[in-house]
Protein backbone atom coordinates (compact mmCIF):
# COMPACT_ATOMS: atom_id res chain seq x y z
CA UNK A 1 0.00 0.00 0.00
CA UNK A 2 2.68 2.44 1.10
CA UNK A 3 4.73 1.35 -1.84
CA UNK A 4 1.87 2.13 -4.21
CA UNK A 5 1.47 5.59 -2.70
CA UNK A 6 5.15 6.31 -3.01
CA UNK A 7 4.98 5.18 -6.62
CA UNK A 8 2.07 7.51 -7.37
CA UNK A 9 3.84 10.40 -5.69
CA UNK A 10 7.03 9.67 -7.53
CA UNK A 11 5.15 9.59 -10.81
CA UNK A 12 3.57 12.95 -10.05
CA UNK A 13 6.88 14.47 -9.06
CA UNK A 14 8.47 13.16 -12.18
CA UNK A 15 5.78 14.72 -14.33
CA UNK A 16 5.99 18.06 -12.56
CA UNK A 17 9.77 18.18 -12.90
CA UNK A 18 9.37 17.23 -16.53
CA UNK A 19 6.93 20.11 -17.12
CA UNK A 20 9.16 22.64 -15.41
CA UNK A 21 12.13 21.36 -17.36
CA UNK A 22 10.25 21.82 -20.60
CA UNK A 23 9.10 25.27 -19.56
CA UNK A 24 12.70 26.19 -18.86
CA UNK A 25 13.99 24.91 -22.16
CA UNK A 26 11.08 26.67 -23.85
CA UNK A 27 12.10 29.94 -22.23
CA UNK A 28 15.70 29.44 -23.30
CA UNK A 29 14.53 28.66 -26.80
CA UNK A 30 12.51 31.89 -26.80
CA UNK A 31 15.55 33.84 -25.66
CA UNK A 32 17.76 32.34 -28.37
CA UNK A 33 15.10 33.14 -30.95
CA UNK A 34 15.18 36.78 -29.91
CA UNK A 35 18.99 36.86 -29.88
CA UNK A 36 19.27 35.35 -33.35
CA UNK A 37 16.53 37.51 -34.83
CA UNK A 38 18.86 39.90 -36.59
CA UNK A 39 19.02 37.88 -39.75
CA UNK A 40 15.25 37.73 -40.18
CA UNK A 41 15.26 41.52 -40.56
CA UNK A 42 18.50 41.84 -42.48
CA UNK A 43 17.28 39.29 -45.01
CA UNK A 44 13.69 40.34 -44.96
CA UNK A 45 12.62 38.01 -47.77
CA UNK A 46 13.09 35.08 -45.37
CA UNK A 47 10.42 36.59 -43.13
CA UNK A 48 8.19 37.66 -46.01
CA UNK A 49 8.18 34.09 -47.28
CA UNK A 50 7.01 32.88 -43.89
CA UNK A 51 4.37 35.60 -43.65
CA UNK A 52 3.04 34.16 -46.86
CA UNK A 53 2.83 30.67 -45.36
CA UNK A 54 1.44 31.68 -41.98
CA UNK A 55 -0.54 34.84 -42.70
CA UNK A 56 -1.74 34.68 -46.26
CA UNK A 57 -2.49 30.96 -46.15
CA UNK A 58 -4.64 31.48 -43.03
CA UNK A 59 -6.64 34.28 -44.64
CA UNK A 60 -9.39 32.15 -46.13
CA UNK A 61 -10.33 30.30 -42.95
CA UNK A 62 -10.08 33.50 -40.90
CA UNK A 63 -12.25 35.58 -43.22
CA UNK A 64 -14.94 32.94 -43.70
CA UNK A 65 -15.14 32.22 -39.96
CA UNK A 66 -15.25 35.93 -39.17
CA UNK A 67 -18.12 36.47 -41.54
CA UNK A 68 -20.16 33.70 -39.96
CA UNK A 69 -19.29 34.69 -36.41
CA UNK A 70 -20.43 38.26 -37.15
CA UNK A 71 -23.70 37.08 -38.66
CA UNK A 72 -24.43 34.75 -35.74
CA UNK A 73 -23.64 37.49 -33.23
CA UNK A 74 -26.09 39.80 -34.95
CA UNK A 75 -28.82 37.17 -35.03
CA UNK A 76 -28.37 36.18 -31.40
CA UNK A 77 -27.97 39.76 -30.27
CA UNK A 78 -31.06 40.93 -32.06
CA UNK A 79 -33.09 38.10 -30.59
CA UNK A 80 -32.27 39.23 -27.06
CA UNK A 81 -31.99 42.99 -27.52
CA UNK A 82 -35.37 43.40 -29.17
CA UNK A 83 -37.04 42.11 -25.99
CA UNK A 84 -35.73 45.24 -24.29
CA UNK A 85 -36.58 47.46 -27.20
CA UNK A 86 -32.99 48.35 -27.92
CA UNK A 87 -32.30 46.54 -31.13
CA UNK A 88 -30.25 49.50 -32.43
CA UNK A 89 -27.61 48.56 -29.86
CA UNK A 90 -26.90 45.50 -31.99
CA UNK A 91 -24.03 47.32 -33.68
CA UNK A 92 -22.39 47.94 -30.31
CA UNK A 93 -22.86 44.35 -29.27
CA UNK A 94 -21.36 42.94 -32.44
CA UNK A 95 -18.47 45.40 -32.55
CA UNK A 96 -17.52 45.15 -28.89
CA UNK A 97 -17.66 41.35 -28.78
CA UNK A 98 -15.51 41.16 -31.88
CA UNK A 99 -12.97 43.86 -31.15
CA UNK A 100 -12.44 43.02 -27.49
CA UNK A 101 -12.69 39.24 -27.40
CA UNK A 102 -13.71 37.19 -30.38
CA UNK A 103 -11.43 38.88 -32.89
CA UNK A 104 -8.14 38.19 -31.10
CA UNK A 105 -9.19 34.93 -29.43
CA UNK A 106 -10.89 33.12 -32.30
CA UNK A 107 -8.19 34.27 -34.69
CA UNK A 108 -5.53 32.88 -32.37
CA UNK A 109 -7.37 29.56 -32.02
CA UNK A 110 -7.81 29.24 -35.78
CA UNK A 111 -4.20 30.32 -36.28
CA UNK A 112 -3.01 27.59 -33.92
CA UNK A 113 -5.01 25.03 -35.87
CA UNK A 114 -4.02 26.23 -39.33
CA UNK A 115 -0.57 27.82 -39.17
CA UNK A 116 0.67 26.48 -35.81
CA UNK A 117 0.27 22.84 -36.75
CA UNK A 118 1.88 23.50 -40.12
CA UNK A 119 4.88 25.09 -38.43
CA UNK A 120 5.26 22.25 -35.92
CA UNK A 121 4.92 19.57 -38.57
CA UNK A 122 7.35 21.32 -40.89
CA UNK A 123 10.04 21.84 -38.28
CA UNK A 124 9.49 18.39 -36.79
CA UNK A 125 9.93 16.90 -40.23
CA UNK A 126 13.04 18.97 -40.86
CA UNK A 127 14.41 17.56 -37.63
CA UNK A 128 13.42 13.99 -38.45
CA UNK A 129 15.04 14.16 -41.88
CA UNK A 130 18.18 15.71 -40.35
CA UNK A 131 17.72 18.96 -42.26
CA UNK A 132 18.35 20.92 -39.08
CA UNK A 133 21.50 18.93 -38.34
CA UNK A 134 22.64 19.44 -41.91
CA UNK A 135 22.15 23.17 -41.49
CA UNK A 136 24.19 23.14 -38.32
CA UNK A 137 26.96 21.22 -40.04
CA UNK A 138 26.97 23.87 -42.75
CA UNK A 139 27.72 26.38 -40.00
CA UNK A 140 24.25 27.90 -40.30
CA UNK A 141 22.23 28.30 -37.12
CA UNK A 142 18.79 26.71 -37.56
CA UNK A 143 17.39 29.12 -34.99
CA UNK A 144 18.50 32.12 -37.00
CA UNK A 145 17.64 30.62 -40.38
CA UNK A 146 14.49 28.58 -39.68
CA UNK A 147 12.98 29.55 -36.34
CA UNK A 148 13.36 33.33 -36.09
CA UNK A 149 11.79 34.22 -39.47
CA UNK A 150 8.80 32.04 -38.67
CA UNK A 151 8.50 33.63 -35.25
CA UNK A 152 8.44 37.18 -36.56
CA UNK A 153 6.12 36.20 -39.38
CA UNK A 154 3.65 34.87 -36.79
CA UNK A 155 3.99 37.94 -34.61
CA UNK A 156 3.33 40.23 -37.57
CA UNK A 157 0.55 38.16 -39.07
CA UNK A 158 -1.57 37.70 -35.97
CA UNK A 159 -2.65 41.32 -35.35
CA UNK A 160 -3.33 41.80 -39.05
CA UNK A 161 -5.44 38.65 -39.13
CA UNK A 162 -7.27 39.69 -35.96
CA UNK A 163 -8.02 43.14 -37.37
CA UNK A 164 -9.34 41.56 -40.57
CA UNK A 165 -11.39 39.14 -38.48
CA UNK A 166 -13.01 41.95 -36.50
CA UNK A 167 -13.66 44.06 -39.58
CA UNK A 168 -15.17 41.23 -41.60
CA UNK A 169 -17.16 40.15 -38.53
CA UNK A 170 -18.63 43.63 -38.20
CA UNK A 171 -19.52 43.52 -41.90
CA UNK A 172 -21.19 40.15 -41.39
CA UNK A 173 -23.13 41.56 -38.47
CA UNK A 174 -24.06 44.58 -40.55
CA UNK A 175 -25.39 42.41 -43.36
CA UNK A 176 -27.64 40.48 -41.00
CA UNK A 177 -28.71 43.48 -38.93
CA UNK A 178 -29.38 46.15 -41.54
CA UNK A 179 -30.53 44.63 -44.83
CA UNK A 180 -31.92 41.36 -43.42
CA UNK A 181 -33.46 42.32 -40.08
CA UNK A 182 -34.05 45.94 -40.88
CA UNK A 183 -32.25 47.79 -38.11
CA UNK A 184 -31.70 51.41 -39.04
CA UNK A 185 -28.41 51.90 -40.88
CA UNK A 186 -27.55 55.18 -39.15
CA UNK A 187 -28.37 53.88 -35.69
CA UNK A 188 -26.28 50.78 -36.27
CA UNK A 189 -23.10 52.73 -37.01
CA UNK A 190 -23.60 55.73 -34.72
CA UNK A 191 -24.37 53.61 -31.67
CA UNK A 192 -21.31 51.56 -32.47
CA UNK A 193 -19.09 54.59 -32.82
CA UNK A 194 -20.41 56.18 -29.65
CA UNK A 195 -19.62 53.12 -27.55
CA UNK A 196 -16.47 51.58 -29.02
CA UNK A 197 -13.47 53.37 -27.62
CA UNK A 198 -10.28 53.55 -29.62
CA UNK A 199 -7.91 53.19 -26.70
CA UNK A 200 -9.87 50.90 -24.39
CA UNK A 201 -11.26 48.57 -27.02
CA UNK A 202 -9.38 48.64 -30.29
CA UNK A 203 -5.84 49.20 -29.04
CA UNK A 204 -6.32 46.65 -26.28
CA UNK A 205 -7.62 44.17 -28.83
CA UNK A 206 -4.49 44.69 -30.91
CA UNK A 207 -2.28 44.25 -27.83
CA UNK A 208 -4.04 40.99 -27.12
CA UNK A 209 -3.51 39.70 -30.62
CA UNK A 210 0.20 40.57 -30.53
CA UNK A 211 0.59 38.62 -27.27
CA UNK A 212 -1.34 35.69 -28.75
CA UNK A 213 0.84 35.87 -31.84
CA UNK A 214 3.98 35.53 -29.72
CA UNK A 215 2.50 32.69 -27.66
CA UNK A 216 1.03 30.64 -30.51
CA UNK A 217 4.02 30.92 -32.79
CA UNK A 218 6.50 30.23 -30.02
CA UNK A 219 4.59 27.13 -28.87
CA UNK A 220 4.36 25.82 -32.42
CA UNK A 221 8.06 26.40 -33.03
CA UNK A 222 9.17 24.92 -29.75
CA UNK A 223 7.03 21.81 -30.11
CA UNK A 224 8.43 21.27 -33.58
CA UNK A 225 11.99 21.83 -32.50
CA UNK A 226 11.57 19.66 -29.41
CA UNK A 227 9.71 16.82 -31.13
CA UNK A 228 11.30 13.36 -30.99
CA UNK A 229 12.64 12.72 -34.49
CA UNK A 230 10.12 10.04 -35.41
CA UNK A 231 6.83 10.08 -37.28
CA UNK A 232 4.98 9.42 -34.05
CA UNK A 233 6.88 12.13 -32.22
CA UNK A 234 6.00 14.72 -34.84
CA UNK A 235 2.33 13.81 -34.89
CA UNK A 236 2.17 14.04 -31.12
CA UNK A 237 3.95 17.36 -31.16
CA UNK A 238 1.38 18.66 -33.63
CA UNK A 239 -1.43 17.69 -31.30
CA UNK A 240 0.37 19.29 -28.38
CA UNK A 241 0.70 22.51 -30.37
CA UNK A 242 -3.05 22.80 -30.75
CA UNK A 243 -3.78 21.88 -27.13
CA UNK A 244 -1.10 24.08 -25.59
CA UNK A 245 -1.76 27.04 -27.87
CA UNK A 246 -5.48 26.97 -27.14
CA UNK A 247 -4.93 26.77 -23.39
CA UNK A 248 -2.29 29.48 -23.51
CA UNK A 249 -4.54 31.78 -25.54
CA UNK A 250 -7.53 31.36 -23.24
CA UNK A 251 -5.45 31.71 -20.09
CA UNK A 252 -3.57 34.75 -21.38
CA UNK A 253 -6.86 36.25 -22.50
CA UNK A 254 -8.18 36.09 -18.97
CA UNK A 255 -5.02 37.64 -17.53
CA UNK A 256 -4.86 40.41 -20.13
CA UNK A 257 -8.57 41.19 -19.85
CA UNK A 258 -8.39 41.50 -16.09
CA UNK A 259 -5.47 43.92 -16.40
CA UNK A 260 -7.21 45.92 -19.10
CA UNK A 261 -10.48 46.22 -17.22
CA UNK A 262 -8.84 47.20 -13.94
CA UNK A 263 -6.73 49.98 -15.37
Amino acid sequence: MLKRLAEVLRGMGHRIIDRIWRLGSGARFFLYTLIYSGESFRRIHLTIREIYFTGVMSLLIILVSAFFVGMVLALQGYNTLQKYGSSEAIGVLVALSLVRELGPVVTALLFAGRAGTAITAEIGLMKTTEQLSAMEMMAVSPIARVVAPRFWAGVVSMPLLAALFSMVGVLGGYIVAVPVIGVDNGAFWSQMQANVDFQADIVNGVIKSVVFGVACTMIALFEGFDAPPTAEGVSRATTRTVVNSSLAVLGLDFILTSFMIVT
Binding site: T129, Q131, S133, M137, M138, A139
Partner: protein, 268 residues
Protein backbone atom coordinates in the same frame (compact mmCIF):
# COMPACT_ATOMS: atom_id res chain seq x y z
CA UNK B 1 51.58 12.77 -37.22
CA UNK B 2 51.55 16.38 -38.34
CA UNK B 3 49.67 15.54 -41.46
CA UNK B 4 46.61 14.16 -39.75
CA UNK B 5 43.74 16.47 -40.47
CA UNK B 6 41.51 14.90 -37.81
CA UNK B 7 42.71 13.15 -34.70
CA UNK B 8 40.60 11.38 -32.13
CA UNK B 9 42.41 10.99 -28.86
CA UNK B 10 41.26 8.65 -26.09
CA UNK B 11 37.66 9.61 -26.72
CA UNK B 12 34.80 8.47 -24.49
CA UNK B 13 31.22 9.43 -24.98
CA UNK B 14 27.96 8.25 -23.49
CA UNK B 15 24.46 9.20 -22.48
CA UNK B 16 23.47 9.16 -18.81
CA UNK B 17 26.42 7.15 -17.56
CA UNK B 18 26.17 4.42 -20.19
CA UNK B 19 29.27 4.75 -22.28
CA UNK B 20 28.95 4.27 -26.01
CA UNK B 21 32.62 4.80 -26.72
CA UNK B 22 35.36 3.81 -24.32
CA UNK B 23 38.67 5.38 -25.21
CA UNK B 24 38.84 5.51 -28.97
CA UNK B 25 41.99 6.58 -30.83
CA UNK B 26 41.90 7.28 -34.53
CA UNK B 27 43.82 9.43 -36.93
CA UNK B 28 42.80 10.60 -40.36
CA UNK B 29 45.67 11.52 -42.66
CA UNK B 30 45.15 14.22 -45.26
CA UNK B 31 44.01 13.15 -48.71
CA UNK B 32 42.89 9.64 -47.77
CA UNK B 33 39.54 7.87 -47.69
CA UNK B 34 39.06 6.29 -44.28
CA UNK B 35 36.17 4.02 -43.45
CA UNK B 36 34.74 3.58 -39.98
CA UNK B 37 32.85 0.32 -39.85
CA UNK B 38 30.90 -1.54 -37.26
CA UNK B 39 27.59 -3.17 -36.57
CA UNK B 40 24.34 -1.24 -36.25
CA UNK B 41 24.21 0.72 -33.02
CA UNK B 42 27.93 0.73 -32.42
CA UNK B 43 28.02 4.53 -32.37
CA UNK B 44 29.57 5.19 -35.75
CA UNK B 45 27.29 8.11 -36.56
CA UNK B 46 27.89 9.53 -33.11
CA UNK B 47 31.59 9.67 -33.96
CA UNK B 48 30.83 11.89 -36.94
CA UNK B 49 28.74 14.18 -34.75
CA UNK B 50 31.60 14.39 -32.29
CA UNK B 51 33.95 15.41 -35.08
CA UNK B 52 31.42 17.97 -36.27
CA UNK B 53 31.08 19.35 -32.77
CA UNK B 54 27.37 18.61 -32.47
CA UNK B 55 28.08 16.51 -29.38
CA UNK B 56 30.55 17.07 -26.58
CA UNK B 57 32.74 14.13 -25.54
CA UNK B 58 32.58 12.82 -21.99
CA UNK B 59 36.33 12.37 -22.00
CA UNK B 60 39.22 12.84 -24.38
CA UNK B 61 39.17 15.12 -27.37
CA UNK B 62 38.74 15.45 -31.09
CA UNK B 63 41.17 17.70 -32.94
CA UNK B 64 40.45 19.10 -36.36
CA UNK B 65 43.47 20.77 -37.94
CA UNK B 66 45.05 20.84 -34.51
CA UNK B 67 42.13 22.59 -32.83
CA UNK B 68 40.15 20.86 -30.11
CA UNK B 69 36.58 20.82 -31.39
CA UNK B 70 34.62 20.91 -28.15
CA UNK B 71 36.70 23.76 -26.71
CA UNK B 72 35.74 26.14 -29.50
CA UNK B 73 33.20 28.86 -28.91
CA UNK B 74 30.29 29.13 -31.29
CA UNK B 75 32.15 31.30 -33.74
CA UNK B 76 35.23 29.08 -33.76
CA UNK B 77 33.08 26.01 -34.19
CA UNK B 78 31.30 27.54 -37.16
CA UNK B 79 34.69 28.45 -38.64
CA UNK B 80 35.77 24.82 -38.31
CA UNK B 81 32.54 23.53 -39.76
CA UNK B 82 33.05 25.56 -42.91
CA UNK B 83 35.95 23.24 -43.65
CA UNK B 84 33.69 20.21 -43.31
CA UNK B 85 31.06 18.85 -45.60
CA UNK B 86 28.69 16.20 -44.40
CA UNK B 87 26.48 13.84 -46.31
CA UNK B 88 23.62 12.65 -44.15
CA UNK B 89 22.13 9.21 -44.27
CA UNK B 90 19.16 10.10 -46.44
CA UNK B 91 20.59 13.27 -47.91
CA UNK B 92 18.74 15.70 -45.64
CA UNK B 93 17.93 17.95 -48.56
CA UNK B 94 15.83 21.00 -47.73
CA UNK B 95 12.43 19.91 -48.95
CA UNK B 96 11.17 23.44 -49.60
CA UNK B 97 14.05 24.35 -51.91
CA UNK B 98 14.79 23.15 -55.42
CA UNK B 99 17.89 21.12 -56.25
CA UNK B 100 19.61 24.26 -57.47
CA UNK B 101 18.74 26.22 -54.32
CA UNK B 102 19.82 23.34 -52.11
CA UNK B 103 23.30 23.37 -53.58
CA UNK B 104 23.37 27.16 -53.57
CA UNK B 105 22.32 27.28 -49.90
CA UNK B 106 25.74 27.06 -48.20
CA UNK B 107 27.25 29.43 -50.78
CA UNK B 108 24.54 32.00 -50.23
CA UNK B 109 24.84 31.71 -46.46
CA UNK B 110 28.58 32.13 -46.29
CA UNK B 111 29.65 34.20 -49.22
CA UNK B 112 28.20 37.41 -50.56
CA UNK B 113 28.65 36.59 -54.21
CA UNK B 114 26.86 37.91 -57.27
CA UNK B 115 24.17 35.63 -58.64
CA UNK B 116 26.14 34.81 -61.83
CA UNK B 117 29.08 33.42 -59.84
CA UNK B 118 26.76 31.43 -57.57
CA UNK B 119 25.18 29.98 -60.68
CA UNK B 120 28.54 28.94 -62.08
CA UNK B 121 29.56 27.33 -58.79
CA UNK B 122 26.30 25.44 -58.45
CA UNK B 123 26.50 24.21 -62.02
CA UNK B 124 30.05 22.99 -61.45
CA UNK B 125 29.06 21.06 -58.36
CA UNK B 126 25.96 19.60 -59.97
CA UNK B 127 27.98 18.64 -63.01
CA UNK B 128 30.48 16.84 -60.81
CA UNK B 129 27.71 14.55 -59.56
CA UNK B 130 26.11 14.33 -63.01
CA UNK B 131 22.87 16.08 -62.13
CA UNK B 132 23.18 19.39 -63.92
CA UNK B 133 19.98 18.56 -65.80
CA UNK B 134 17.99 18.02 -62.61
CA UNK B 135 18.57 21.50 -61.23
CA UNK B 136 14.96 22.62 -61.37
CA UNK B 137 13.48 19.54 -59.73
CA UNK B 138 12.26 19.52 -56.14
CA UNK B 139 13.78 17.01 -53.68
CA UNK B 140 10.51 15.05 -53.58
CA UNK B 141 10.85 14.38 -57.32
CA UNK B 142 14.24 12.71 -56.95
CA UNK B 143 15.04 9.04 -56.47
CA UNK B 144 17.01 8.04 -53.40
CA UNK B 145 20.25 7.77 -55.33
CA UNK B 146 19.79 11.14 -57.01
CA UNK B 147 18.94 12.80 -53.70
CA UNK B 148 22.15 11.37 -52.26
CA UNK B 149 24.14 12.83 -55.15
CA UNK B 150 22.50 16.25 -54.80
CA UNK B 151 23.32 16.17 -51.10
CA UNK B 152 26.88 15.32 -52.03
CA UNK B 153 27.01 18.29 -54.38
CA UNK B 154 25.75 20.45 -51.52
CA UNK B 155 28.28 18.99 -49.10
CA UNK B 156 31.17 19.92 -51.41
CA UNK B 157 29.73 23.32 -52.35
CA UNK B 158 32.25 25.20 -50.24
CA UNK B 159 35.18 22.94 -51.25
CA UNK B 160 35.64 21.41 -47.80
CA UNK B 161 38.86 19.79 -46.74
CA UNK B 162 36.98 17.10 -44.81
CA UNK B 163 33.98 15.28 -46.22
CA UNK B 164 32.02 13.04 -43.90
CA UNK B 165 29.62 10.41 -45.15
CA UNK B 166 26.99 8.98 -42.84
CA UNK B 167 25.87 5.60 -44.24
CA UNK B 168 26.01 6.76 -47.85
CA UNK B 169 24.97 3.36 -49.25
CA UNK B 170 21.82 2.56 -47.29
CA UNK B 171 18.73 2.02 -49.36
CA UNK B 172 20.39 2.33 -52.74
CA UNK B 173 20.03 -0.01 -55.68
CA UNK B 174 23.28 -1.65 -56.95
CA UNK B 175 23.77 0.87 -59.75
CA UNK B 176 23.28 3.94 -57.54
CA UNK B 177 25.51 2.26 -55.00
CA UNK B 178 28.47 1.91 -57.33
CA UNK B 179 27.86 5.41 -58.74
CA UNK B 180 27.99 6.86 -55.22
CA UNK B 181 30.97 4.70 -54.43
CA UNK B 182 32.96 5.97 -57.38
CA UNK B 183 31.93 9.54 -56.69
CA UNK B 184 33.26 9.40 -53.16
CA UNK B 185 36.66 8.27 -54.36
CA UNK B 186 36.89 10.56 -57.39
CA UNK B 187 35.66 13.65 -55.56
CA UNK B 188 38.09 13.01 -52.75
CA UNK B 189 41.00 12.86 -55.16
CA UNK B 190 39.79 15.78 -57.27
CA UNK B 191 39.29 18.09 -54.29
CA UNK B 192 42.34 16.90 -52.42
CA UNK B 193 40.08 16.38 -49.44
CA UNK B 194 39.93 13.80 -46.71
CA UNK B 195 36.90 11.54 -46.62
CA UNK B 196 35.53 9.88 -43.54
CA UNK B 197 33.15 7.15 -44.48
CA UNK B 198 30.83 5.61 -41.91
CA UNK B 199 29.20 2.47 -43.22
CA UNK B 200 28.56 -1.20 -42.65
CA UNK B 201 28.70 -2.20 -46.28
CA UNK B 202 31.92 -4.18 -46.35
CA UNK B 203 32.27 -4.67 -50.08
CA UNK B 204 31.85 -1.02 -51.07
CA UNK B 205 33.90 0.34 -48.20
CA UNK B 206 36.78 -2.02 -48.83
CA UNK B 207 36.79 -1.17 -52.53
CA UNK B 208 37.45 2.55 -52.03
CA UNK B 209 38.93 3.03 -48.56
CA UNK B 210 42.64 3.48 -47.93
CA UNK B 211 42.34 2.55 -44.31
CA UNK B 212 39.58 0.96 -42.24
CA UNK B 213 38.66 1.12 -38.56
CA UNK B 214 36.29 -1.50 -37.21
CA UNK B 215 34.44 -0.35 -34.10
CA UNK B 216 32.64 -2.67 -31.73
CA UNK B 217 31.70 -2.55 -28.06
CA UNK B 218 32.92 1.04 -27.80
CA UNK B 219 36.51 0.38 -28.83
CA UNK B 220 38.47 0.07 -32.04
CA UNK B 221 38.42 -3.67 -32.51
CA UNK B 222 40.65 -3.73 -35.56
CA UNK B 223 42.28 -1.38 -38.02
CA UNK B 224 44.32 -1.58 -41.16
CA UNK B 225 44.24 -1.45 -44.90
CA UNK B 226 41.36 -3.40 -46.49
CA UNK B 227 43.62 -6.22 -47.66
CA UNK B 228 45.11 -6.71 -44.21
CA UNK B 229 41.68 -6.91 -42.66
CA UNK B 230 40.48 -9.45 -45.21
CA UNK B 231 43.32 -11.71 -44.18
CA UNK B 232 42.75 -11.05 -40.50
CA UNK B 233 42.40 -14.07 -38.27
CA UNK B 234 40.74 -12.23 -35.43
CA UNK B 235 37.42 -14.04 -34.95
CA UNK B 236 35.31 -10.87 -34.77
CA UNK B 237 36.92 -9.28 -37.79
CA UNK B 238 36.53 -12.49 -39.72
CA UNK B 239 32.85 -12.69 -38.84
CA UNK B 240 32.24 -9.04 -39.71
CA UNK B 241 34.15 -8.96 -42.96
CA UNK B 242 32.61 -12.17 -44.24
CA UNK B 243 29.18 -11.59 -42.78
CA UNK B 244 28.82 -14.86 -40.89
CA UNK B 245 25.70 -15.54 -38.83
CA UNK B 246 27.27 -16.74 -35.63
CA UNK B 247 30.61 -16.05 -34.08
CA UNK B 248 31.86 -13.73 -31.37
CA UNK B 249 28.71 -11.67 -32.02
CA UNK B 250 26.02 -14.19 -31.08
CA UNK B 251 22.76 -14.60 -32.95
CA UNK B 252 20.83 -14.46 -29.67
CA UNK B 253 20.54 -11.33 -27.59
CA UNK B 254 21.79 -12.33 -24.14
CA UNK B 255 18.95 -14.13 -22.38
CA UNK B 256 18.46 -16.74 -19.66
CA UNK B 257 18.42 -20.39 -20.59
CA UNK B 258 15.68 -21.02 -23.17
CA UNK B 259 14.14 -24.05 -21.38
CA UNK B 260 14.04 -22.32 -18.00
CA UNK B 261 12.58 -19.18 -19.58
CA UNK B 262 9.72 -21.14 -21.14
CA UNK B 263 8.92 -23.04 -17.96
CA UNK B 264 8.84 -19.94 -15.80
CA UNK B 265 5.64 -18.80 -17.49
CA UNK B 266 4.61 -15.38 -18.58
CA UNK B 267 5.50 -13.57 -15.39
CA UNK B 268 9.17 -13.43 -16.26
Amino acid sequence: MADNIVEIDNLSFGYKGRLLHKGINMSFPRGKVIAIMGGSGSGKTTLLRLIGGQLVPTQGEVRVEGQVVHKQDRHGLFQLRRKMGMLFQFGALFTDLSVYENVAFPIREHADLPESIIRDLVMMKLNAVGLRGARNLMPTELSGGMARRVALARAIALDPSIIMYDEPFTGLDPISMSVTCNLIRSLNDALGATSILVTHDVKEAFSIADYVYIVANGVVEAEGAPDELRQSTLPFVHQFVHGEVDGPVPFHYSAPDYRRDMLRGQDA
